[in-house]
C-alpha cells in the first residue's frame, strides 16, 4: 500500500514538471506582458524595461524558468506582477471559494447520481431508467453558463430566493454563504451528476450481471442487501475513477461559473490574470490547478484502494 502511494507520487513528478513547463511556455506566448499592461497608455520603453528588470523579465526565458522553478519548489510562486501580491497569497485567498463551490458541486452530483444511476440499472428499460438516462444526456448537453443564467433569472430575479452573485464567507454569514453557493453549485454540478449517473448505471449493470450477485440472491439476500451491500460497493469502483477525472472538469468549469455568478475563486483569478497579462499569476494558477488535479486523483486512487481490496493488498 505504501509502495502503491509512493509509486503514484513518483509518477506524478514528471507530470508536474510538464505542467509547469506548459504553464511557463504558454504565458510566454501571450502577446503583451505585465509591464505593458501595467503601464497601459503611459508605456515608454524605459519604464517598461525598468519594470521588466524588476520582475526579472529581461532574463533569457530558460533562465527565467529555472529561477521560477527553483522558487516554486521551495513554495514561492512569485509575486503577481500586477498587484504585487504573492501568488500563493492570492491563491490562498481564492481557494476557499473554489473549494466550496467544487465540493458542493461534487456533493450535489453524488447525492443525485448514485441513487438515480442505481435505480436506472435495477429498473433497466423501464421509466426510472429512461428518466436517469435523459438526465444523463441532458445534463451533459446544457451549457453550464446558460444554466447559470437561467437559474439567476428564475431564482434570483423572478423569485428572489437567492442572491444573483457575489460571495459571502461561510464564517461571516453561514446562511448567506449557503444562499450564494446553492445556484452555482447546481449549475456546475449538473454535468458531473450526468456523467456520474451514466457511469453508475453502466457499472451497476455490469455488477448486476456478475455471478456473485446471483450468488447473493441465491443466499437469500433481499433487494436492499443485494443492491445496497453487494452491488453498491463494487459499482463504486468505476464511479470513483470517473469522479477523479470530473474534478478536472469542475476546476475548469468553475472558471465559467465563477464568472457568471461573480464568485471570487481560482477560476475568476485565472480570468483576471489573463485579462491583466499577469504572467506570474497565470503560471501560478495553472500549476496550482494542475497540482490540485493530480492530488485529487491521488486521493481518488486511495479511495479506490479502500473500495477495492485487491489494490490494497496487491
Amino acid at each position: 500500500m505504501i509502495f502503491y502511494i509512493a509509486r503514484r507520487l513518483l509518477l506524478a513528478i514528471p507530470v508536474l514538471f510538464g505542467i509547469s513547463l506548459v504553464a511557463f511556455a504558454l504565458v510566454r506566448l501571450v502577446p503583451g506582458d505585465t509591464a505593458t499592461v501595467m503601464l497601459g497608455m503611459q508605456y515608454t520603453e524605459a519604464r517598461g524595461e525598468q519594470i521588466r528588470a524588476e520582475m526579472g523579465l529581461d532574463q533569457p526565458v530558460p533562465v527565467q524558468y529555472a529561477i521560477w522553478l527553483s522558487r516554486a519548489l521551495s513554495g514561492d510562486l512569485g509575486q503577481s506582477g500586477f498587484t504585487g501580491q504573492p501568488v500563493t497569497r492570492a491563491l490562498r485567498e481564492r481557494l476557499p471559494v473554489t473549494l466550496q463551490l467544487a465540493s458542493s458541486a461534487v456533493l450535489f452530483a453524488l447525492v443525485m447520481a448514485l441513487p438515480l444511476g442505481m435505480m436506472a440499472a435495477v429498473n433497466r428499460g423501464r421509466w426510472p431508467d429512461h428518466l436517469a438516462m435523459t438526465v444523463g444526456v441532458a445534463g451533459l448537453s446544457v451549457p453550464n453558463f446558460w444554466l447559470g443564467i437561467l437559474l439567476i433569472l428564475l431564482f434570483a430575479r423572478t423569485l428572489g430566493w437567492a442572491p444573483s452573485g457575489g460571495f459571502i464567507h461561510l464564517f461571516e454569514d453561514p446562511v448567506g454563504n449557503l444562499r450564494t453557493m446553492i445556484l452555482p453549485a447546481f449549475a456546475l454540478g449538473l454535468a458531473v451528476a450526468a456523467v456520474l449517473i451514466r457511469t453508475m448505471r453502466a457499472s451497476m449493470l455490469d455488477v448486476l450481471g456478475q455471478e456473485y450477485l446471483r450468488m447473493a440472491r441465491a443466499k437469500g439476500c433481499g433487494p436492499l442487501r443485494l443492491y445496497g451491500v453487494h452491488a453498491f460497493r463494487n459499482a463504486l469502483v468505476p464511479v470513483l475513477t470517473v469522479l477523479g477525472i470530473q474534478v478536472g472538469y469542475l476546476l475548469g468549469g468553475s472558471v465559467v461559473i465563477e464568472s457568471v455568478f461573480g464568485l471570487p475563486g481560482i477560476g475568476l483569478l485565472a480570468l483576471e490574470a489573463i485579462r491583466n497579462r499577469d504572467y506570474v499569476l497565470l503560471q501560478g494558477v495553472i500549476v496550482f490547478v494542475g497540482t490540485a488535479f493530480l492530488l485529487i486523483n491521488l486521493t481518488v486512487d486511495l479511495l479506490y484502494a479502500w473500495v477495492n481490496p485487491q489494490i490494497r493488498y496487491g
Binding site: 502577446p31 501580491q85 452573485g165 461571516e172 497540482t291
Partner: protein, 514 residues
C-alpha cells in the same frame, strides 16, 4: 506565508470545504465590530479596484475607493464646475498668475501612522505626481513646490495655468503618506488622511472602509461603515439593489434605468455626465492620414442610431465639439447634423477610395457597450465601403496598443472632469500623452496654450469654442455622444448627490434613514 505545504492538501480541504479561513492581519473583532445594515452603506461597483495608489490609478473603480481614503488640497463642489477647500483651507494667487500659496488646515492626520498632514507631505505628493504619476503631464507647467512653513505650500509655475486648481481638486491628486509609500507602497494600502479609512480589501469580494477616527468631528462621515462590492455583472448589480443586498449603484446602464425607476423603494437619479465616447482615427496611418477619409467617417456615422441602439437613447449626441452642454465651456455649434452618406461617399471618392478599404477597429472587451457600438459602426461604415473588422482586446493590452499608437481605428471613451483643458489639452495638443490619434494642428496647439494661461472664463470659452470647431472639422476623433450619469439607491439612503463626473465625495454627507 509563502510555504507551499498548504498547496499540498487541497484534497483534504475539499472535504472541509469552506472551513478554511484566511489568516488575516486585522483582528476579527475590529473587522466586524458593530457592523450592521443600519450603519453600513454598501456600494456596488462595476469591477474591483485595480490599485489603491491614487497616483497610479486610472480606472473609475479604483478612484471610487481611493477618493474616500484621501484628502486633496481642493475638492469639487456639489455644483458642477465649482471648487471647494479641501486640505487647503485658503489659497492665493500672485498677480503674475505664476505663484499659488495654500494654507493647510491643521486637523488632518494620516490614518495609518496618525501623523498630522503637513506641508512637506503635500510637497512630497505633488512631486510624486509630477515625476511619475498617471497625470504627471497636467502638472508640466509647475516649476517647483515648496513648504516654507508646516502649513503653507507654495506652487510656482513657469506659465500661467488656469486649470491648476481644478487639477489639484481632481480626486487622484491626493496627498499621500510618504512613510506608507516607503513602508510598502500604496497599491494595497491606505496612505491617506481622508474621511474613511481602509479596514480590509479582499480582492473581488469587497473593500471595507470605516469612518476615520483621525478625522475631525466636523468632517467625519455620517455612515460609520462603507463597503464597496464589485459585481461585474450588470444584472447581478441591479438585482442586488432590488433585493437590498447593496444600497447604492453608481453606474446604472441605460437599459436598466426604466425598469429600476418602476421599483418602489428605489430612487434613480440621472443627469448628463462627462463621460463621452468617440471613434479615434489614427492620423498617422493610412487611410486616416487623409482628412477626407476621417470626415467621411464622421459623416457616415449615424450618432442617433448608435445612441438609440447602444445607449437606449439616454446619451446626448455630440454633433459638434466634445464638451457637453452641462459644462460652462460648451460650444453650441453643429458640425455633423445628420448622417450624410452622399457627402461621405464623395469625400472618399475624392480621397481615391471609392472602392473602399479594409480597416481594423480596436475595442476593449471589458466594455461590452463599446463593443456593441463598434458592431454598429461596422455596419454603418459598410454603407460607404469601409470594411471594418472589429477586434476586441482585454483593456490592458488595448490601452497599451493605444498608447503605442498601434491602431488604425478605435472606439473608446474619455472621462472629463472639471476644467476644459482636461477635454482638449490632454487629447489634441501635438505630442500630448493621450493624443493617440497623432493629431497635430499648430493653431489648436496655440489655442490650448492660450486656454491654459488665460484665467478669464468668458475668454476661455471663446478659445475653446474655436479649438473645438477645428478639431471637429478635422476629425481626428469622431465624437459620438456623452453619457448620462445615473445612480440608483435605496430610498432610505439620504443625502447622496449624483455628480456628473465619477466622484462620490457626497458619500461623506450621506446618511441612512433606518
Amino acid at each position: 506565508m509563502t510555504r507551499l505545504h498548504w498547496i499540498w492538501c487541497p484534497a483534504v480541504f475539499l472535504v472541509l470545504a469552506g472551513c478554511s479561513r484566511n489568516a488575516d492581519p486585522v483582528p476579527v473583532t475590529e473587522r466586524d465590530a458593530a457592523r450592521s445594515r443600519t450603519n453600513e452603506l454598501i456600494v456596488a461597483i462595476q469591477s474591483d479596484a485595480k490599485t489603491l495608489d491614487p497616483h497610479l490609478a486610472t480606472d473609475a473603480a479604483s478612484m471610487r475607493v481611493i477618493e474616500n481614503l484621501y484628502d486633496t488640497l481642493l475638492t469639487y463642489g456639489s455644483a458642477y464646475g465649482t471648487l471647494e477647500p479641501g486640505l487647503a483651507r485658503s489659497w492665493t494667487l500672485s498677480d503674475d498668475g505664476l505663484t499659488y500659496t495654500f494654507q493647510l488646515r491643521t486637523n488632518a492626520c494620516f490614518h495609518h501612522t496618525g501623523r498630522p498632514v503637513l506641508a512637506d507631505d503635500v510637497v512630497y505628493s505633488l512631486d510624486r505626481m509630477r515625476s511619475s504619476g498617471a497625470r504627471s503631464s497636467v502638472f508640466a507647467p509647475v516649476s517647483s513646490v515648496t513648504a516654507p512653513t508646516p502649513h503653507t505650500v507654495i506652487v510656482t509655475l513657469t506659465t500661467p495655468l488656469a486649470s491648476l486648481l481644478a487639477h489639484l481638486a481632481h480626486p487622484m491628486s491626493a496627498v499621500v503618506d510618504r512613510e506608507q509609500v516607503g513602508a510598502g507602497g500604496l497599491k494595497r494600502a491606505d496612505g491617506g488622511s481622508g474621511p474613511y479609512a481602509l479596514i480590509e480589501w479582499k480582492a473581488q469580494q469587497y473593500a471595507r472602509l470605516k469612518a476615520a477616527d483621525t478625522a475631525p468631528a466636523s468632517l467625519r462621515p455620517r455612515v460609520p461603515f462603507l463597503t464597496y462590492r464589485p459585481l461585474p455583472d450588470e444584472t447581478a448589480r441591479t438585482t442586488a439593489l432590488r433585493t437590498g443586498e447593496v444600497d447604492l449603484l453608481l453606474d446604472v446602464a441605460g437599459k436598466d434605468v426604466q425598469s429600476l425607476q418602476q421599483v418602489p423603494g428605489i430612487v434613480v437619479e440621472s443627469q448628463p455626465g462627462t463621460f463621452w465616447e468617440y471613434i479615434g482615427l489614427n492620423c498617422t496611418r493610412p487611410p486616416f492620414d487623409d482628412i477626407r477619409v476621417r470626415q467621411a467617417v464622421a459623416w457616415a456615422v449615424d450618432r442617433d442610431l448608435i445612441n438609440q441602439l447602444v445607449k437606449f437613447g439616454r446619451a446626448t449626441v455630440l454633433d459638434g465639439g466634445p464638451i457637453p452642454p452641462n459644462h460652462w465651456a460648451y460650444a453650441p455649434f453643429t458640425m455633423y447634423p445628420a448622417r450624410n452618406l452622399e457627402r461621405a461617399r464623395a469625400l472618399l471618392a475624392e480621397a481615391g477610395l471609392a472602392d473602399g478599404v479594409d480597416v481594423e477597429l480596436l475595442v476593449s472587451s471589458d466594455f461590452p457597450y463599446q463593443v456593441k457600438a463598434a458592431e454598429v459602426i461596422k455596419q454603418l461604415l459598410k454603407d460607404i465601403n469601409l470594411r471594418v473588422t472589429v477586434r476586441a482586446m482585454e483593456s490592458g493590452v488595448f490601452f497599451h496598443a493605444l498608447g503605442q499608437k498601434d491602431f488604425t481605428m478605435t472606439l473608446v471613451g474619455w472621462l472629463g472632469f472639471v476644467d476644459p483643458d482636461e477635454w482638449l489639452g490632454l487629447l489634441f495638443r501635438s505630442g500630448a500623452l493621450w493624443n493617440q490619434q497623432g493629431y497635430g494642428n499648430p493653431e489648436v496647439d496655440q489655442l490650448i496654450e492660450q486656454g491654459r494661461s488665460v484665467t478669464d472664463r468668458a475668454k476661455r470659452q471663446d478659445i475653446y469654442r474655436r479649438a473645438q470647431e477645428i478639431v471637429a472639422l478635422e476629425a481626428p476623433m469622431v465624437f459620438l455622444y456623452v453619457n448620462e450619469r445615473t445612480s440608483a439607491h435605496l430610498a432610505d439612503v439620504k443625502g447622496f448627490v449624483n455628480h456628473p463626473t465619477v466622484t462620490t465625495l457626497s458619500l461623506r454627507e450621506t446618511w441612512l434613514d433606518r
